[in-house]
Protein backbone atom coordinates (compact mmCIF):
# COMPACT_ATOMS: atom_id res chain seq x y z
CA UNK A 1 0.00 0.00 0.00
CA UNK A 2 1.10 3.55 -0.72
CA UNK A 3 2.23 5.67 2.23
CA UNK A 4 -0.39 7.95 3.73
CA UNK A 5 -0.64 11.51 2.38
CA UNK A 6 0.29 14.52 4.53
CA UNK A 7 -1.69 17.25 2.85
CA UNK A 8 -5.06 17.99 1.31
CA UNK A 9 -5.39 20.89 -1.10
CA UNK A 10 -9.07 21.78 -0.86
CA UNK A 11 -10.08 23.99 -3.78
CA UNK A 12 -13.31 25.21 -2.24
CA UNK A 13 -14.40 27.22 -5.27
CA UNK A 14 -13.14 28.34 -8.65
CA UNK A 15 -14.87 31.68 -8.29
CA UNK A 16 -12.37 34.49 -7.85
CA UNK A 17 -12.43 38.27 -8.00
CA UNK A 18 -9.06 38.25 -9.79
CA UNK A 19 -8.48 37.26 -13.41
CA UNK A 20 -4.78 36.35 -13.60
CA UNK A 21 -3.91 34.99 -17.02
CA UNK A 22 -1.71 32.22 -15.56
CA UNK A 23 -4.28 30.87 -13.10
CA UNK A 24 -3.57 27.28 -12.11
CA UNK A 25 -7.27 26.42 -12.21
CA UNK A 26 -8.40 24.60 -15.36
CA UNK A 27 -9.73 26.49 -18.41
CA UNK A 28 -13.08 24.94 -17.74
CA UNK A 29 -13.88 26.37 -14.34
CA UNK A 30 -16.37 24.67 -12.03
CA UNK A 31 -19.50 26.79 -11.69
CA UNK A 32 -21.05 27.67 -8.37
CA UNK A 33 -24.00 25.29 -8.70
CA UNK A 34 -21.62 22.34 -9.18
CA UNK A 35 -19.59 23.09 -6.01
CA UNK A 36 -19.61 20.64 -3.13
CA UNK A 37 -21.93 21.48 -0.24
CA UNK A 38 -20.69 22.19 3.28
CA UNK A 39 -21.59 18.67 4.38
CA UNK A 40 -19.57 17.17 1.54
CA UNK A 41 -16.49 19.17 2.49
CA UNK A 42 -16.84 18.17 6.14
CA UNK A 43 -16.92 14.55 5.06
CA UNK A 44 -13.92 15.09 2.76
CA UNK A 45 -11.94 16.60 5.66
CA UNK A 46 -12.90 13.70 7.95
CA UNK A 47 -11.79 11.19 5.34
CA UNK A 48 -8.59 13.10 4.63
CA UNK A 49 -7.70 13.09 8.33
CA UNK A 50 -8.37 9.39 8.76
CA UNK A 51 -6.28 8.75 5.67
CA UNK A 52 -3.38 10.58 7.34
CA UNK A 53 -3.58 14.22 6.16
CA UNK A 54 -2.32 16.69 8.74
CA UNK A 55 -2.44 19.84 6.65
CA UNK A 56 -5.47 21.28 4.95
CA UNK A 57 -4.83 24.06 2.46
CA UNK A 58 -8.04 26.02 1.89
CA UNK A 59 -7.68 27.39 -1.56
CA UNK A 60 -9.59 28.19 -4.73
CA UNK A 61 -10.26 30.42 -6.66
CA UNK A 62 -10.85 32.62 -3.68
CA UNK A 63 -11.92 30.60 -0.61
CA UNK A 64 -13.28 33.75 1.06
CA UNK A 65 -16.16 33.59 -1.43
CA UNK A 66 -17.50 30.48 0.34
CA UNK A 67 -19.94 31.66 3.04
CA UNK A 68 -19.25 28.42 4.95
CA UNK A 69 -15.51 29.11 5.20
CA UNK A 70 -15.64 29.77 8.98
CA UNK A 71 -17.38 26.46 9.56
CA UNK A 72 -14.89 24.61 7.35
CA UNK A 73 -11.93 26.22 9.11
CA UNK A 74 -13.35 25.22 12.47
CA UNK A 75 -13.93 21.68 11.28
CA UNK A 76 -10.43 21.27 9.84
CA UNK A 77 -9.01 22.64 13.09
CA UNK A 78 -11.12 20.32 15.23
CA UNK A 79 -9.54 17.37 13.42
CA UNK A 80 -6.09 18.53 14.55
CA UNK A 81 -5.01 19.66 11.10
CA UNK A 82 -2.77 22.58 10.27
CA UNK A 83 -5.02 25.06 8.46
CA UNK A 84 -3.52 27.15 5.69
CA UNK A 85 -5.62 29.86 4.04
CA UNK A 86 -4.57 30.56 0.45
CA UNK A 87 -6.07 33.87 -0.61
CA UNK A 88 -5.86 36.86 -2.94
CA UNK A 89 -6.48 39.04 0.11
CA UNK A 90 -9.53 40.58 -1.52
CA UNK A 91 -12.30 40.39 1.07
CA UNK A 92 -9.98 39.71 4.00
CA UNK A 93 -11.09 42.48 6.34
CA UNK A 94 -9.70 42.79 9.84
CA UNK A 95 -12.85 41.32 11.40
CA UNK A 96 -13.02 38.47 8.95
CA UNK A 97 -9.41 37.51 9.57
CA UNK A 98 -9.75 37.83 13.33
CA UNK A 99 -12.72 35.49 13.33
CA UNK A 100 -11.01 32.97 11.00
CA UNK A 101 -7.88 33.06 13.16
CA UNK A 102 -9.92 32.40 16.29
CA UNK A 103 -11.56 29.44 14.53
CA UNK A 104 -8.23 27.88 13.69
CA UNK A 105 -6.42 29.32 10.66
CA UNK A 106 -2.72 28.73 11.36
CA UNK A 107 -1.07 30.39 8.39
CA UNK A 108 -1.98 32.71 5.54
CA UNK A 109 -0.63 32.52 2.02
CA UNK A 110 -1.26 35.73 0.13
CA UNK A 111 -0.80 36.21 -3.60
CA UNK A 112 0.95 39.28 -4.96
CA UNK A 113 0.92 39.83 -8.71
CA UNK A 114 3.64 42.49 -9.02
CA UNK A 115 5.73 45.01 -7.09
CA UNK A 116 3.61 48.07 -7.78
CA UNK A 117 -0.07 48.96 -7.63
CA UNK A 118 -0.17 49.59 -11.35
CA UNK A 119 1.55 46.34 -12.33
CA UNK A 120 -0.31 44.24 -9.77
CA UNK A 121 -3.73 45.52 -10.79
CA UNK A 122 -3.03 45.16 -14.50
CA UNK A 123 -2.15 41.48 -14.08
CA UNK A 124 -4.98 40.82 -11.60
CA UNK A 125 -7.50 42.59 -13.82
CA UNK A 126 -8.99 44.45 -10.83
CA UNK A 127 -7.86 46.93 -8.21
CA UNK A 128 -6.47 44.53 -5.66
CA UNK A 129 -3.10 45.91 -4.60
CA UNK A 130 -4.22 48.16 -1.75
CA UNK A 131 -6.46 45.44 -0.38
CA UNK A 132 -3.55 42.99 -0.38
CA UNK A 133 -1.40 45.43 1.54
CA UNK A 134 -4.19 45.86 4.08
CA UNK A 135 -4.77 42.12 4.32
CA UNK A 136 -1.07 41.54 5.02
CA UNK A 137 -1.21 44.10 7.84
CA UNK A 138 -4.22 42.31 9.37
CA UNK A 139 -2.38 38.99 9.24
CA UNK A 140 0.59 40.49 11.08
CA UNK A 141 -1.63 42.21 13.65
CA UNK A 142 -3.26 38.87 14.35
CA UNK A 143 0.16 37.32 14.92
CA UNK A 144 -0.20 34.75 12.15
CA UNK A 145 2.73 33.76 9.93
CA UNK A 146 2.49 35.08 6.37
CA UNK A 147 3.76 33.66 3.10
CA UNK A 148 3.63 35.86 0.02
CA UNK A 149 3.34 34.10 -3.32
CA UNK A 150 4.24 35.62 -6.64
CA UNK A 151 4.04 33.94 -10.02
CA UNK A 152 6.85 35.20 -12.26
CA UNK A 153 6.65 35.81 -16.03
CA UNK A 154 7.79 38.22 -18.72
CA UNK A 155 5.48 41.00 -17.46
CA UNK A 156 6.86 41.17 -13.90
CA UNK A 157 10.31 39.53 -13.86
CA UNK A 158 12.06 42.85 -14.37
CA UNK A 159 10.51 44.01 -11.07
CA UNK A 160 11.83 41.11 -9.04
CA UNK A 161 13.80 43.33 -6.63
CA UNK A 162 10.68 45.38 -5.99
CA UNK A 163 8.60 42.26 -5.40
CA UNK A 164 11.08 41.08 -2.77
CA UNK A 165 11.04 44.52 -1.10
CA UNK A 166 7.24 44.50 -1.13
CA UNK A 167 7.10 41.07 0.55
CA UNK A 168 9.55 42.30 3.19
CA UNK A 169 7.41 45.37 3.82
CA UNK A 170 4.33 43.20 4.10
CA UNK A 171 6.11 41.30 6.88
CA UNK A 172 6.25 37.93 5.14
CA UNK A 173 8.22 35.12 6.76
CA UNK A 174 8.34 33.34 3.44
CA UNK A 175 8.25 34.43 -0.14
CA UNK A 176 7.53 31.98 -2.90
CA UNK A 177 8.73 33.18 -6.28
CA UNK A 178 7.47 30.65 -8.76
CA UNK A 179 8.12 30.97 -12.44
CA UNK A 180 4.97 30.26 -14.41
CA UNK A 181 4.18 26.63 -15.20
CA UNK A 182 2.44 26.30 -18.52
CA UNK A 183 -0.82 24.41 -18.13
CA UNK A 184 -4.38 25.57 -18.78
CA UNK A 185 -4.58 29.36 -18.62
CA UNK A 186 -0.83 29.92 -18.64
CA UNK A 187 -0.47 27.65 -21.67
CA UNK A 188 -3.06 29.70 -23.49
CA UNK A 189 -1.15 32.88 -22.59
CA UNK A 190 2.33 31.48 -23.04
CA UNK A 191 3.38 33.94 -25.74
CA UNK A 192 2.60 36.81 -23.33
CA UNK A 193 4.19 35.17 -20.29
CA UNK A 194 7.30 33.29 -21.38
CA UNK A 195 10.32 35.18 -20.00
CA UNK A 196 13.42 35.91 -22.05
CA UNK A 197 16.85 34.49 -21.26
CA UNK A 198 18.09 38.02 -20.57
CA UNK A 199 15.37 38.61 -17.99
CA UNK A 200 16.20 35.41 -16.15
CA UNK A 201 19.92 36.12 -16.27
CA UNK A 202 19.27 39.41 -14.47
CA UNK A 203 16.67 38.05 -12.04
CA UNK A 204 18.45 34.89 -10.87
CA UNK A 205 21.38 36.64 -9.13
CA UNK A 206 19.02 39.21 -7.56
CA UNK A 207 17.06 36.36 -5.99
CA UNK A 208 20.24 34.60 -4.87
CA UNK A 209 21.56 37.78 -3.23
CA UNK A 210 18.25 38.39 -1.46
CA UNK A 211 18.16 34.81 -0.19
CA UNK A 212 21.56 35.42 1.37
CA UNK A 213 20.74 38.88 2.73
CA UNK A 214 17.42 37.80 4.27
CA UNK A 215 18.52 34.46 5.70
CA UNK A 216 16.82 33.86 9.03
CA UNK A 217 14.30 36.67 8.42
CA UNK A 218 12.46 35.87 5.23
CA UNK A 219 12.93 32.58 3.47
CA UNK A 220 12.78 32.87 -0.32
CA UNK A 221 11.73 29.81 -2.30
CA UNK A 222 12.51 30.12 -5.99
CA UNK A 223 10.88 27.86 -8.56
CA UNK A 224 12.85 27.73 -11.81
CA UNK A 225 11.65 28.66 -15.28
CA UNK A 226 11.78 25.08 -16.50
CA UNK A 227 11.59 25.73 -20.26
CA UNK A 228 14.96 27.45 -19.92
CA UNK A 229 16.59 24.71 -17.88
CA UNK A 230 18.39 21.50 -18.79
CA UNK A 231 16.42 19.43 -16.27
CA UNK A 232 12.79 19.56 -15.19
CA UNK A 233 11.55 20.64 -11.80
CA UNK A 234 10.68 17.74 -9.51
CA UNK A 235 7.08 16.58 -9.58
CA UNK A 236 6.12 17.15 -5.92
CA UNK A 237 7.64 14.30 -3.89
CA UNK A 238 6.45 11.99 -6.59
CA UNK A 239 2.97 11.36 -7.95
CA UNK A 240 0.47 10.20 -5.33
CA UNK A 241 3.15 10.39 -2.63
CA UNK A 242 2.40 13.24 -0.21
CA UNK A 243 -0.61 15.27 -1.24
CA UNK A 244 -3.98 15.14 -2.93
CA UNK A 245 -6.24 17.82 -4.36
CA UNK A 246 -10.01 17.97 -4.25
CA UNK A 247 -11.53 20.29 -6.86
CA UNK A 248 -14.66 22.39 -6.14
CA UNK A 249 -16.92 19.76 -7.72
CA UNK A 250 -15.39 16.91 -5.69
CA UNK A 251 -13.02 15.58 -8.33
CA UNK A 252 -9.98 14.07 -6.63
CA UNK A 253 -6.72 14.91 -8.38
CA UNK A 254 -3.23 13.51 -7.84
CA UNK A 255 -1.88 16.90 -8.89
CA UNK A 256 -3.65 20.27 -8.96
CA UNK A 257 -3.25 20.50 -12.75
CA UNK A 258 -4.11 16.87 -13.49
CA UNK A 259 -7.33 17.65 -15.37
CA UNK A 260 -5.16 18.66 -18.35
CA UNK A 261 -4.28 14.97 -18.75
CA UNK A 262 -7.50 14.13 -20.55
CA UNK A 263 -6.59 10.44 -20.69
CA UNK A 264 -6.65 10.21 -16.89
CA UNK A 265 -9.82 8.79 -15.41
CA UNK A 266 -10.74 11.08 -12.49
CA UNK A 267 -12.75 9.88 -9.48
CA UNK A 268 -15.11 11.96 -7.38
CA UNK A 269 -15.78 12.13 -3.63
CA UNK A 270 -19.48 11.78 -4.35
CA UNK A 271 -18.86 8.22 -5.56
CA UNK A 272 -15.88 6.87 -3.62
CA UNK A 273 -14.00 7.46 -0.40
CA UNK A 274 -10.68 9.31 -0.37
CA UNK A 275 -9.16 6.15 1.07
CA UNK A 276 -10.20 4.06 -1.95
CA UNK A 277 -9.18 6.76 -4.38
CA UNK A 278 -5.76 7.34 -2.79
CA UNK A 279 -4.90 3.65 -2.58
CA UNK A 280 -6.74 1.98 -5.43
CA UNK A 281 -7.68 4.41 -8.21
CA UNK A 282 -5.99 4.14 -11.62
CA UNK A 283 -5.32 7.92 -11.57
CA UNK A 284 -3.31 7.86 -8.33
CA UNK A 285 -1.47 4.71 -9.29
CA UNK A 286 -0.73 5.78 -12.86
CA UNK A 287 2.64 7.39 -12.11
CA UNK A 288 3.44 6.18 -8.61
CA UNK A 289 6.96 4.97 -8.01
CA UNK A 290 9.28 4.34 -10.96
CA UNK A 291 7.80 1.33 -12.75
CA UNK A 292 5.77 3.35 -15.26
CA UNK A 293 8.83 5.15 -16.57
CA UNK A 294 10.32 4.70 -20.00
CA UNK A 295 13.82 5.58 -21.06
CA UNK A 296 15.62 7.91 -20.74
CA UNK A 297 14.10 8.40 -17.25
CA UNK A 298 13.98 4.71 -16.36
CA UNK A 299 17.76 4.37 -16.46
CA UNK A 300 18.56 7.91 -15.31
CA UNK A 301 19.91 8.53 -11.78
CA UNK A 302 18.10 11.88 -11.60
CA UNK A 303 14.73 10.11 -11.52
CA UNK A 304 15.07 9.90 -7.73
CA UNK A 305 15.26 13.71 -7.65
CA UNK A 306 12.83 14.89 -10.32
CA UNK A 307 10.57 11.83 -10.82
CA UNK A 308 10.86 12.31 -14.57
CA UNK A 309 9.50 15.85 -14.36
CA UNK A 310 5.96 16.96 -14.94
CA UNK A 311 3.30 14.52 -16.19
CA UNK A 312 0.99 17.35 -17.19
CA UNK A 313 3.70 19.00 -19.25
CA UNK A 314 4.64 15.68 -20.88
CA UNK A 315 1.02 15.15 -21.85
CA UNK A 316 0.43 18.66 -23.10
CA UNK A 317 3.54 18.87 -25.24
CA UNK A 318 3.73 15.27 -26.51
CA UNK A 319 0.30 13.71 -26.00
CA UNK A 320 1.81 11.00 -23.77
CA UNK A 321 1.68 11.58 -20.02
CA UNK A 322 4.13 8.74 -19.33
CA UNK A 323 6.96 10.13 -21.36
CA UNK A 324 9.97 12.12 -20.16
CA UNK A 325 9.16 15.77 -19.42
CA UNK A 326 10.14 17.41 -22.74
CA UNK A 327 11.99 20.26 -20.99
CA UNK A 328 14.65 17.70 -20.05
CA UNK A 329 17.75 17.93 -22.24
CA UNK A 330 17.76 14.11 -22.39
CA UNK A 331 14.22 13.99 -23.77
CA UNK A 332 13.84 13.14 -27.46
CA UNK A 333 11.20 15.89 -27.53
CA UNK A 334 13.40 18.72 -26.24
CA UNK A 335 13.33 20.32 -29.70
CA UNK A 336 9.61 21.04 -29.17
CA UNK A 337 10.49 23.21 -26.21
CA UNK A 338 13.35 24.92 -28.04
CA UNK A 339 11.03 25.77 -30.89
CA UNK A 340 8.50 27.26 -28.47
CA UNK A 341 11.23 29.35 -26.86
CA UNK A 342 12.38 30.58 -30.23
CA UNK A 343 8.95 31.62 -31.43
CA UNK A 344 7.26 32.74 -28.21
CA UNK A 345 9.93 34.44 -26.09
CA UNK A 346 9.95 37.46 -28.35
CA UNK A 347 6.93 37.04 -30.60
CA UNK A 348 6.76 39.44 -33.54
CA UNK A 349 3.34 40.41 -32.35
CA UNK A 350 2.51 39.95 -28.67
CA UNK A 351 -1.09 38.79 -28.32
CA UNK A 352 -3.36 40.26 -25.64
CA UNK A 353 -3.53 38.33 -22.36
CA UNK A 354 -6.65 36.16 -22.16
CA UNK A 355 -7.98 37.06 -18.71
CA UNK A 356 -9.34 34.22 -16.58
CA UNK A 357 -13.13 34.09 -16.73
CA UNK A 358 -15.92 31.64 -16.16
CA UNK A 359 -17.61 30.73 -19.42
Amino acid sequence: MADAPFGLLAELTHRCPLQCGYCSNPLELVRRDAELATEDWRRVFDQARSLGCLQIHLSGGEPLLRPDLPELVAHANSLGCYVNLVTSGVGLSRDRLRSLASLGVDHVQLSLQDATREGNDRIAGIKAFDRKVEAAAHVLDEGLPLTVNTVLHRQNLDNIAGIITMAERMGAERLELANTQYYGWALRNRAVLLPTREQLAVADPIVAAAQERLRGRMEIVYVIADYHEAHPKPCMYGWGARQLTVAPNGDVLPCPAATVISSLEIENVRDSSLHDIWHHSPSFNAFRGFEWMKDPCRSCPRKEVDFGGCRCQAFQLTGDAATTDPVCSLSPDRSTVDLILETEMKPAEVPAMAMRKMQ
Binding site: A4, F6, G7, R49, S50, L51, G52, L54, Q55, G80, C81, Y82, N84, D106, H107, Q109, G143, L144, P145, T147, E173, R174, E219
Partner: protein, 90 residues
Protein backbone atom coordinates in the same frame (compact mmCIF):
# COMPACT_ATOMS: atom_id res chain seq x y z
CA UNK B 1 25.41 25.95 11.86
CA UNK B 2 26.82 25.85 15.38
CA UNK B 3 24.61 26.27 18.40
CA UNK B 4 25.98 26.96 21.86
CA UNK B 5 24.98 24.92 24.90
CA UNK B 6 23.52 27.99 26.57
CA UNK B 7 21.38 28.84 23.53
CA UNK B 8 17.64 28.83 24.23
CA UNK B 9 15.49 27.18 21.58
CA UNK B 10 11.81 27.90 21.12
CA UNK B 11 9.16 26.64 18.73
CA UNK B 12 8.58 29.16 15.96
CA UNK B 13 5.38 31.10 15.66
CA UNK B 14 2.90 29.26 13.48
CA UNK B 15 4.35 25.84 14.22
CA UNK B 16 2.06 23.25 15.83
CA UNK B 17 3.23 20.19 17.75
CA UNK B 18 0.71 17.42 18.06
CA UNK B 19 0.21 13.68 18.19
CA UNK B 20 -1.00 11.83 15.11
CA UNK B 21 -3.16 8.84 16.06
CA UNK B 22 -3.00 7.55 12.50
CA UNK B 23 0.81 7.30 12.39
CA UNK B 24 1.05 6.81 16.15
CA UNK B 25 3.79 9.40 16.31
CA UNK B 26 4.45 12.92 17.47
CA UNK B 27 4.45 15.34 14.57
CA UNK B 28 5.37 18.94 13.94
CA UNK B 29 3.13 20.87 11.57
CA UNK B 30 4.30 24.03 9.85
CA UNK B 31 3.42 25.98 6.72
CA UNK B 32 5.65 24.06 4.34
CA UNK B 33 5.27 20.58 5.70
CA UNK B 34 5.07 17.92 8.37
CA UNK B 35 7.84 16.30 10.38
CA UNK B 36 7.25 12.91 11.94
CA UNK B 37 9.32 12.71 15.13
CA UNK B 38 10.85 9.75 16.86
CA UNK B 39 10.52 9.52 20.63
CA UNK B 40 13.74 11.35 21.52
CA UNK B 41 13.10 14.13 19.02
CA UNK B 42 9.59 14.52 20.39
CA UNK B 43 10.95 14.90 23.93
CA UNK B 44 13.45 17.52 22.80
CA UNK B 45 10.81 19.48 20.88
CA UNK B 46 8.50 19.40 23.90
CA UNK B 47 11.24 21.07 25.96
CA UNK B 48 11.95 23.86 23.42
CA UNK B 49 9.93 26.28 25.52
CA UNK B 50 11.94 29.47 25.16
CA UNK B 51 13.12 29.14 28.79
CA UNK B 52 15.37 26.09 28.93
CA UNK B 53 18.79 26.12 27.31
CA UNK B 54 20.16 23.25 25.25
CA UNK B 55 22.18 22.23 28.32
CA UNK B 56 19.05 22.23 30.51
CA UNK B 57 17.25 20.09 27.96
CA UNK B 58 20.11 17.59 27.88
CA UNK B 59 20.08 17.33 31.67
CA UNK B 60 16.30 16.88 31.74
CA UNK B 61 16.50 14.15 29.11
CA UNK B 62 19.40 12.33 30.71
CA UNK B 63 16.98 11.27 33.48
CA UNK B 64 14.58 9.82 30.96
CA UNK B 65 16.88 8.30 28.37
CA UNK B 66 20.24 6.80 29.17
CA UNK B 67 23.02 7.99 26.90
CA UNK B 68 21.55 11.27 25.63
CA UNK B 69 24.50 13.64 25.22
CA UNK B 70 24.30 17.43 24.94
CA UNK B 71 25.77 17.03 21.44
CA UNK B 72 22.76 14.94 20.38
CA UNK B 73 20.41 17.68 21.53
CA UNK B 74 22.47 20.33 19.75
CA UNK B 75 22.43 18.52 16.44
CA UNK B 76 18.73 17.76 16.69
CA UNK B 77 17.94 21.41 17.43
CA UNK B 78 20.18 22.47 14.55
CA UNK B 79 18.16 20.28 12.20
CA UNK B 80 14.93 21.79 13.53
CA UNK B 81 16.33 25.29 12.98
CA UNK B 82 17.17 24.37 9.41
CA UNK B 83 13.63 23.15 8.83
CA UNK B 84 12.37 26.42 10.31
CA UNK B 85 10.56 24.67 13.14
CA UNK B 86 12.67 26.07 15.98
CA UNK B 87 14.39 29.44 16.60
CA UNK B 88 17.29 29.94 18.99
CA UNK B 89 18.11 33.02 21.08
CA UNK B 90 21.49 33.54 22.65
Amino acid sequence: MTIALDAVPRIRRGVKCTYDQIREAHVVLFPEGVLVLNETAASVVALCDGVRSIGDIAVALADEYAGVEPGDVTSLVARMVERRVVDVDG
